[in-house]
């Protein structure tokens, strides 16, 4: 990658746990790599690593991010190459260390090294706003905030957005796990409500999808699964990150309405 423009460090965070940061990281990373970028996904959840499991690369870990940051191994040794997707690399977290083995200063240096090797470096931030979060955002150029349509998730995302702004990072919003039926019934926050409260740029809407669990269990990337709506949504998010601003944000809809819409396009169902 010598002589090429420097890459971008994007942190994926949420404040709250269990909203789909890891899934988003793995999927967006895979989609960016499929688009022909050199991508590294870094698991920053030191002590509770699981990005490797989601990506099905668990059995190939030799070195981890702590080794790479501390200079105990070369970057290339820590980066595990994905066999199915070209140009996709994983730098796993250390399972035996603690989050404060790394410092934000070390992460800034690490980020600089990574930018020279990759086009996109996705940092999978741990939940919370403590040391692990500080380390993840230290070297970030951009941020994606993953948020579920649920009040507690919105509250935490709001806090994280404030912290990101305080570091001069303008985050973008991914709304994950939308259940269109519930939104339609008014039982779930709509993405409009969330954008109104969080007031940041929306980059994608992802609906709840059984394929996510299948993908996590089998280690087959979500974006490679045919007919996965969440996978499609993540691919579109990746394209938008990649500069394709023209890709529209699709609002997840219930099956019935979808077919009605298609039907009405062909002059049916009137």
């Amino acid at each position: 990658m010598e002589g090429k423009a420097e890459g971008k460090v994007i942190v994926i965070t949420s404040g709250k746990g269990g909203v789909g940061k890891t899934t988003a990281t793995a999927s967006i990373g895979a989609a960016l790599a499929l688009d022909g970028n050199r991508v590294a996904v870094v698991d920053m959840d030191i002590g509770l690593r699981n990005l490797d499991v989601v990506m099905g690369l668990e059995n190939r870990i030799v070195f981890n991010v702590v080794d790479a940051v501390k200079g105990r191994c070369k970057l290339k040794q820590a980066a595990i190459r994905d066999r199915r997707i070209k140009n996709l690399y994983l730098i796993p977290a250390s399972q035996s260390d603690n989050k404060d083995v790394l410092s934000p200063d070390e992460m800034v240096q690490f980020g600089e090294k990574m930018r020279k090797e990759f086009d996109y470096i996705l940092m999978d931030s741990p939940a919370g706003i403590e040391q692990g979060f500080e380390n993840s955002v230290a070297s970030a150029d951009e941020a994606l905030v993953v948020c579920m349509p649920e009040v507690s998730s919105v509250r935490d995302a709001d806090r994280v957005i404030g912290l990101l702004y305080a570091r001069s990072i303008t985050p973008k919003l991914v709304v994950n796990r939308i259940i269109p039926e519930m939104v339609e019934r008014g039982d779930m926050l709509s993405h409009e409500d969330m954008v109104e409260v969080l007031s940041i740029e929306l980059i994608g809407l992802v609906q709840v999808d059984d394929h996510v669990i299948i993908s996590t269990n089998t280690g087959v990337p979500l974006v490679l699964q045919k007919g996965s709506k969440a996978g499609d949504a993540f691919r579109r998010i990746a394209m938008r990150i990649n500069g394709r601003k023209d890709i529209p944000i699709e609002v997840p809809q219930t099956e019935g309405r979808f077919w009605k819409k298609i039907g009405s396009k062909f002059g049916l169902g009137k």
């Binding site: 009040v151 919105v154 509250r155 709001d158 806090r159 957005i161 404030g162 912290l163 702004y165 409260v197």
Partner: protein, 228 residues
């Protein structure tokens, strides 16, 4: 001078004039006698001097003052004689307006005005009033010594009139705070009104009351615009 003696009239030089204080309830003759004594000592200094009479908190006595003024003019050739009580009689309205203008200038910086969104975990504090052009998200906290005015949605915690001003109000264009505190009184779990209407909270009988702002128009019946 002879301060130890029973002093009926006090005189001191103020700028380019003479300030003469006395108790107008005393007999006119004794005041005149005392003035006579004092002004005699001044000799030529009294000529054309500007004399200001001060009769303290007493009111009326215009006749006495006029008489004494004329006496001083005739006897010692003083310039003009001013009675402060007369000067104070300019209409209350004008005084008020003047005070108000002065006050506005003086109080200019007592308000903290912010634009943007106050997010969860952020806290804004000010000694006096706070005006926010933007929204206050759930989990955010606004603490003011005076009023809190949010030109947007207030969904966080608002504490006005801290620590003990129960005259403070909390006003928002979309009023749905998680908690409101005015002075030492607190209210939580206020039922949301549903629509986006400007509402405000104030203290009445040791309880927080929320009303539609335009309907209640709390300051509309005030005769004068006042500095808050």
């Amino acid at each position: 001078m002879k301060e130890t003696r029973d002093v009926k009239v006090r005189m001191k030089g103020v700028g380019d004039g003479l300030h003469v204080a006395f108790d107008p309830t005393l007999p006119a003759d004794s005041i005149r006698e005392e003035l006579n004594r004092l002004f005699k000592q001044l000799r030529h200094l009294a000529i054309n001097a500007r004399v200001t009479f001060d009769i303290g908190e007493n009111e009326g006595y215009e006749e006495l003052l006029d008489e004494l003024g004329d006496y001083l003019k005739a006897q010692f050739g003083v310039g003009n004689v001013i009675c402060p009580s007369k000067r104070r009689m300019v209409s209350e309205g004008i005084t008020r307006q003047r005070d108000m203008q002065g006050a506005w200038q003086q109080h200019q910086s007592d308000m903290l005005m912010l634009t943007g969104r106050v997010r969860s975990g952020q806290k804004v504090t000010a000694r006096k009033h706070i005006l926010i052009l933007g929204d206050v998200n759930p989990g955010a906290e606004i603490v003011a010594g005076g009023d809190i005015i949010v030109m947007g949605t207030l969904s966080g915690i608002a504490a006005a009139g801290q620590p003990d001003n129960e005259n403070a109000i909390v006003l928002a264009l979309d009023f749905r705070p998680t908690q409101v505190q005015i002075g030492g009184i607190m209210a939580a779990g206020l039922p949301p009104s549903g629509d986006k209407i400007a509402e405000f909270a104030y203290v009445e009988d040791n309880a927080i009351v929320v009303e539609e702002y335009l309907k209640a128009n709390p300051f509309g019946r005030q005769p004068w615009p006042e500095v808050r």
